[in-house]
């Protein structure tokens, strides 16, 4: 393999995705990532269709986790309500898709649902950031939004709560949501079970690479500066309020994408996506995996949800106890999360092994949370 030469043609491809704001800028990292993606892609082949069905849900969750890692880890906006965008997009897709279940209709539903969650995030973000709401208050407000949606959707059981043919269904949820499909008129593809898995995996990888490029761009530097010291960044002439709004909106869009993929996989959505337990999960993934590492959060989401699923299968009720305890222990012992800690070990190991005076990568900033 020629990936080892940093001057090779691959280096030029890699460049936009690398920089001081992301961990893992070495050829070895990219090789590892390629292997991991290949393993995920091989899952349905190795374990059958059922693995694809379950796996797609985990991958959709990973998108949700990544949306939180992006806004919290890179811009310091701790949102406890990412599930609000996740769920709203799911409901929006259901409403449009049930009413117009044609290829065109489903394509419109996909676009519309992500648009709805994006606009929702933009409106909420505009309201909060331009209203001067900060820090803890943002966190609480986003959580309250999710809880209110939970209460609201829970009381929509009556027949009057319907949009066209789509009944919201209260706590019973909205069932009969069609599969994902893309096309216009009669030309297009309906995405089946296996296809859905690969679409979700593709969306996850594409989002990951896109976010990496973004956080290593000029805008990414401004984001991180806003996280580190908002007042100082504003003094340098950056419009930090606008930066936060843009970041929050992108986060909402990604969560919405996850929500659509989640809903179309299950063909079903109910108010529990907004519930306090669901709202806690992204926070758990990002805290445990490490919020400054997009990949760490994805890994934590996949691992934790897999364990949760296995425990539920075996009839155990202890999954939530385990997840909650894990969260407490990790934040107490390893406040920055697992992936950043591992990254530091790798750097130390490399430094020991290689005595040449290579400038050491600055360790990812970890102290912003106590602000």
């Amino acid at each position: 393999m020629s990936v080892d030469s940093s001057d090779g043609p691959l280096a030029a491809v890699r460049r936009p995705f690398e920089g001081p704001n992301t961990m893992g800028n070495s050829p070895a990292f990219w090789l590892g990532l390629a292997v991991a993606v290949a393993v995920l892609a091989a899952m349905p082949v190795l374990f059958g269709l059922y693995a694809a069905e379950v796996g797609a849900v985990f991958l959709a969750y990973a998108l949700l986790g990544m949306s939180l890692a992006f806004i919290w880890g890179y811009c310091g906006i701790l949102s406890f309500g990412q599930v609000a965008f996740f769920g709203v997009a799911g409901y929006a897709f259901g409403i449009v898709a049930i009413n117009v279940a044609t290829l065109t209709g489903l394509t419109v539903a996909l676009i519309a649902s992500i648009a709805v969650s994006t606009v929702f995030a933009a409106a909420l973000g505009y309201f909060m950031f331009y209203g001067g709401v900060r820090d803890v208050y943002v966190t609480i407000l986003t959580l309250v939004v999710a809880l209110v949606l939970y209460t609201f959707m829970g009381q929509t059981a009556g027949g009057e709560w319907a949009v066209g043919d789509a009944r919201l269904g209260g706590f019973n949820g909205m069932s009969g949501v069609p599969d994902l499909a893309v096309g216009v008129g009669s030309t297009g593809v309906e995405i089946g079970l296996l296809g859905h898995y690969y679409v979700t995996l593709g969306a996850l990888v594409a989002t990951y690479l896109g976010l990496r490029a973004l956080v290593n761009s000029q805008f990414g530097y401004a984001m991180v500066a806003t996280r580190e010291d908002e007042d100082r960044t504003a003094m340098f002439g950056y419009d930090t309020t606008f930066i936060k709004l843009v970041v929050f909106t992108i986060g909402g869009a990604i969560a919405g994408l996850g929500g659509v993929l989640f809903t179309t996989q299950n063909n079903y959505v109910d108010p529990s996506v907004f519930g306090i337990t669901a709202a806690a999960l992204p926070v758990v993934w990002a805290s445990v995996g490490g919020r400054t590492s997009l990949l760490g959060t994805v890994g934590a989401a996949l691992a934790i949800q897999f364990v949760d699923y296995r425990l539920a299968l075996s009839g155990s009720e202890w999954a939530l106890v385990l997840i909650g305890s894990l969260l407490v222990i990790v934040v107490l012992l390893m406040p920055e999360g697992v992936a950043p800690r591992l990254h530091e070990y790798v750097l130390e190991y490399r430094e020991d092994a290689d005595p040449s005076p290579v400038p050491r990568e600055p360790p990812a900033a970890t102290e912003e949370v106590s602000d």
Binding site: L78, F80, F127, G131, G132, V133, R134, D135, V136, Y137, T139, I140, L141, L143, V144, L147, V148, T151, F152, Q155, I276, T277, A280, V283, V284, S287, E317, W318, A319, L320, V321, I323, G324, S325, L326, L327, V328, V331, L332, P335, V369, S370, D371
Partner: protein, 293 residues
């Protein structure tokens, strides 16, 4: 008829005001004093409710059962503070995340240990004449006002209150003046926990007790704390008054659900206009007036 309508509105207001005050005050004490939003607040309330209902089922008279609930929750808060929370002072967002983890564990443990239901307690004191509602809600309102008065006395008139407020204002100076700030945090957390337990105990006869019992208090408590701002007593009273009025007025006309919606809209508008809460606005206003003179 207008008289009866007004009476209904008054009763509605008293009921909602008491609920918001009691749901909020424990959270507000901990937030105001330490800046920590305790995401496990609902589960502290849960501890109070379970202790009360099981003490009552074991034969204790209701007031004693409720006292058990308060004391147990305070002790529980104390233990948690020593074991976990005290490592998180100065790490505000971390403390929120950790308390959320505690909340998840507690809800699920409650479900595993006690199942999905708990023995109920009948509503004491019977029904009111004229308006439609139990006398017990008026008792709750009296208790709510009593709690606010008691807190005022505790923080303004006692030695403990002065030390606690000194710690809140300037920890380093307070410590250099000989205040054991560590102990102040510990006892304040216990007081806040006890108040959460009180809410759980008082509402045990009114609400169905399930492992998600505490979640039913969260929206009101969080909204009132955010609208109220950092000052514990003034913020809680004003926020509860504002939200309670809006909620009661709309509930009276359009039903419980619309009342809640109206309250949330009022809260959102209030936060938009006063990002630091009502008490933040008051502080600004006071400052401006000081400059004018």
């Amino acid at each position: 008829m207008a008289g009866a309508g007004l009476l209904n509105f008054g009763f509605e207001f008293v009921e909602i005001f008491a609920f918001i005050v009691l749901a909020t005050v424990g959270l507000a004490v901990i937030f105001g004093m330490m800046g920590i939003i305790n995401l496990a607040h609902g589960e502290f309330i849960l501890v109070g409710a379970y202790a009360t209902t099981f003490a009552f089922a074991a034969g204790a008279p209701l007031p004693l059962a409720m006292l058990t609930g308060v004391v147990l929750t305070a002790v529980y808060g104390l233990v948690l503070e020593r074991l976990i929370i005290r490592h998180l002072y100065g790490r505000l967002l971390d403390s929120m995340v950790v308390t959320w983890g505690i909340s998840l564990v507690m809800i699920q443990l409650t479900r595993i240990v006690f199942g999905n239901t708990a023995p109920g307690i009948g509503i004491p004191f019977g029904q009111l004449p004229i308006v439609d509602g139990p006398v017990y809600y008026l008792v709750l309102a009296v208790v709510a006002v009593g709690v606010l008065g008691g807190l005022y006395a505790l923080f303004m008139w006692t030695d403990f209150g002065i030390r606690a407020r000194a710690t809140m204002q300037d920890e380093a100076t307070a410590r250099s003046m000989g205040v054991d700030t560590d102990r102040m945090y510990m006892s304040t957390f216990a007081v806040g926990s006890g108040l959460a337990g009180l809410a759980g105990a008082l509402y045990a006869p009114v609400m169905t007790i399930t492992p998600e019992y505490g979640t039913g208090f969260l929206i009101e408590a969080f909204v009132a704390v955010v609208v109220g701002g950092a000052s514990v007593l003034v913020g809680t009273v004003l926020a509860s008054g504002l939200l309670g009025t809006v909620n009661a007025a709309v509930t009276n006309v359009a039903g419980t659900f619309m009342g809640q919606v109206a309250m949330l809209i009022a809260a959102i508008v209030a936060i938009r206009l006063m990002p630091d809460g009502i008490t933040g606005l008051l502080a600004d206003w006071r400052e401006n007036r000081g400059e004018g003179q």
